[in-house]
């Protein structure tokens, strides 16, 4: 067991070291924070897509749900901020439970229905009629708890947690069962795997991660509009980053985020169309030639990718 845990432990240690040291070498903390957010989201999405084959196109719905739930808890209860963030994760789990029946759908139906669900959530939250509760299109402000250092460290904690779960999926019986289900759900059920229950568990875990990330993101920003936490771009980036590195692995989404988000920070923020053209072309090329991501090149050369 110890030997099987070693690669995961190495990845976690490297990540922790990198994100603790980098702020001292590089002044733009918010860029690093956003990078961590995207790694969490890409990894959370990878848990679901990479290990069960369900691509949640509306993953951003959980992110936004967590952001709003956390902020509303901060505004209306006296709870400490970390409890509010946990509440954000819980709200996302609740949302995922309500949307649980979506898992009966397969493939693209699931993706589109999930996208529709996230859009519904967005339109409800941003509706001017609900301004008194959600702030409508004007967003929310929780600057009384603004704490960049603490929220940075919390995001790092969630990042490590998420990667630890991915590593667990990669080496455990549970993860093996998931992969069996993805390849052939009927045979897996015959072999005694409770397909529906396991899929639901992964779905809830994935949602909780999205919600926690959203809560901490809202805490870090402390002022945000509904667009900022519900834009479809967040789902899109998480999907592209995860696919680029390679889904179904632990380091794939991390590598994908590190490479593509750096690229985005370099050219995408000032001229988003160039970046859009680039990642559009990347997706097409990846699907046609490397459907398992760039890390699958290593697999092809005979190295095992963790």
């Amino acid at each position: 067991m110890l030997r099987r845990m070693r690669p995961g432990a190495i990845v976690l240690a490297l990540l922790a070291a990198a994100f603790l040291i980098l702020p001292h070498l590089y002044g733009n903390q918010s860029l690093l924070f956003t990078l961590m957010t995207f790694i969490v989201l890409a990894q959370g999405l990878n848990l679901l897509y990479g290990f069960t084959g369900y691509l949640p196109f509306g993953y951003v719905g959980f992110f936004g749900c967590g952001a709003y739930a956390t902020s509303l808890l901060v505004l209306h209860t006296g709870l400490p901020v970390l409890a509010c963030v946990a509440g954000g994760g819980l709200a996302a789990v609740l949302m995922a439970t309500i949307l649980g029946p979506l898992l009966r759908l397969s493939g693209a139906y699931f993706s589109i229905a999930n996208l529709a669900a996230s859009q519904i959530l967005y339109y409800v939250v941003a509706n001017p009629n609900l301004s008194s509760i959600t702030g409508g299109p004007y967003g929310l402000k929780i600057d009384q708890v603004y704490a960049p250092e603490a929220s940075y460290l919390s995001m790092l904690a969630v990042l490590l947690l998420t990667c630890a779960i991915a590593a667990y999926f990669r080496v455990s019986r549970f993860g093996m069962a998931l992969r069996a289900m993805t390849q052939d759900a009927v045979s897996a059920a015959m072999a005694g795997i409770d397909v529906v229950r396991q899929r639901l568990i992964v779905w809830l875990i994935s949602a909780a991660i999205g919600g926690l990330a959203g809560g901490i993101y809202a805490w870090y920003l402390s002022v945000f509009y509904p667009d900022a936490v519900f834009t479809l771009q967040i789902s899109v980036f998480a999907i592209v980053f995860a696919l680029f590195g390679g889904v179904g692995t632990v380091i794939g989404p991390i590598v994908g985020c590190a490479v593509l988000y750096t690229l985005y920070a370099a050219i995408g923020i000032s001229t988003p169309q160039y970046f859009q053209l680039l990642y559009g072309s990347l997706i097409v090329l990846l699907v046609l030639f490397l459907p398992n991501g760039v890390l699958s090149l290593l697999t092809r050369w005979g190295r095992r990718v963790f």
């Binding site: 979506l102 229905a113 097409v284």
Partner: protein, 293 residues
């Protein structure tokens, strides 16, 4: 009562137009089992074609219709052979096509921002008749009637293709069983390519009228149009192109009624309809077999 009449008649007109918006997506799925997630962007390309014709050359936007057909052949034919056969050999064509066409959507969207800027564009109102035409005492602008007429003709044309031509018969054979169609000597690839081009052409033709029915056209409308089309197609039933008309009418009536009575919630309609239908009847209102996970 007047308000209700307006909403119902408007909803039917709007619905017929949106059947045309969605039908190409359904055709492509029905024949190739491929999800064209760039559908909305192809619709917009048709609209931008009409915009160029009208603003740069001073032509009537209706010339955008032949241009859309021409564009569909020029873009669709090579695109089909570049990606579709390879996708169909892959492990999971439905999901991979979904992702691949999402990439194509991003490419088209960024290129149209380069070409036209991110601004909203509209077409001259008077080009399709400046007046309005009444039905049962409810007036709608001429451009709506033209759009509805063209939609009806295009959908009827598709029906004739399926029901009365040899190619259409063969295409239906492919839709019901691809492998057996191939075994009986139908040239599946060529017919699929034709269906793909027809799907894009129908999208482009619909795009010509988007500036009139939605108000303006801009590159960022694409994803919204794709999801709306998806909702309509799923309400009708995926893989049955003529079922799209039912979906279009349900969507049109729903949207118009909401816009009349609860305007601020009306943009929820396509998404809510999609979610409800998918959960209670995954096969759509007219669907036969129920798909299970």
């Amino acid at each position: 009562m007047d308000l209700l009449e307006y909403a119902v008649i408007g909803g039917i007109l709007y619905g017929i137009f949106f059947s045309l918006i969605a039908i190409g997506l359904n055709l492509v799925f029905g024949v190739m089992r491929i999800i064209n997630l760039a559908h909305g962007q192809f619709i917009l390309l048709g609209g931008f074609g009409a915009y160029i014709l009208s603003s740069a050359l001073g032509l009537n936007p209706l010339y955008g219709i032949p241009l859309a057909v021409f564009g569909a052949v020029v873009i669709g034919w090579p695109l089909y052979y570049a990606v579709v056969p390879q996708l169909q050999r892959s492990r999971d064509p439905e999901m991979l096509s979904f992702i691949l066409f999402f990439g194509i959507a991003q490419i088209i969207e960024s290129l149209s921002v380069f070409a036209f800027g991110a601004d909203q564009r509209s077409l001259p109102d008077e080009a399709l008749g400046a007046g309005s035409f009444g039905l049962l005492g409810q007036e709608f602008p001429d451009s709506w009637w033209v759009a509805v007429l063209v939609s009806a003709i295009a959908i009827f044309g598709l029906y004739l293709y399926f029901a009365h031509t040899k190619l259409g018969y063969a295409t239906r054979a492919i839709m019901s069983n691809r492998d057996e169609a191939r075994a009986t000597g139908i040239s599946v690839d060529r017919l699929s390519a034709i269906a793909f081009v027809i799907g894009l052409a129908l999208a482009g033709i619909a795009g010509v009228f988007v500036p009139y029915l939605i108000g303006s056209i801009s590159p960022d409308l694409g994803n919204g149009l794709t999801t709306t089309s998806f909702a309509i197609v799923i309400i009708g039933s995926l893989g049955n192109p003529l079922g799209t008309i039912v979906g279009g009418l349900v969507f049109g009536l729903g949207t118009m009624l909401m816009q009349t009575y609860y305007a601020s919630w009306s943009n929820l309609v396509p998404y809510a309809l999609l979610l409800i239908i998918v959960l209670i009847r995954p096969s759509g209102l007219l669907g036969k077999a129920v798909r299970l996970a």
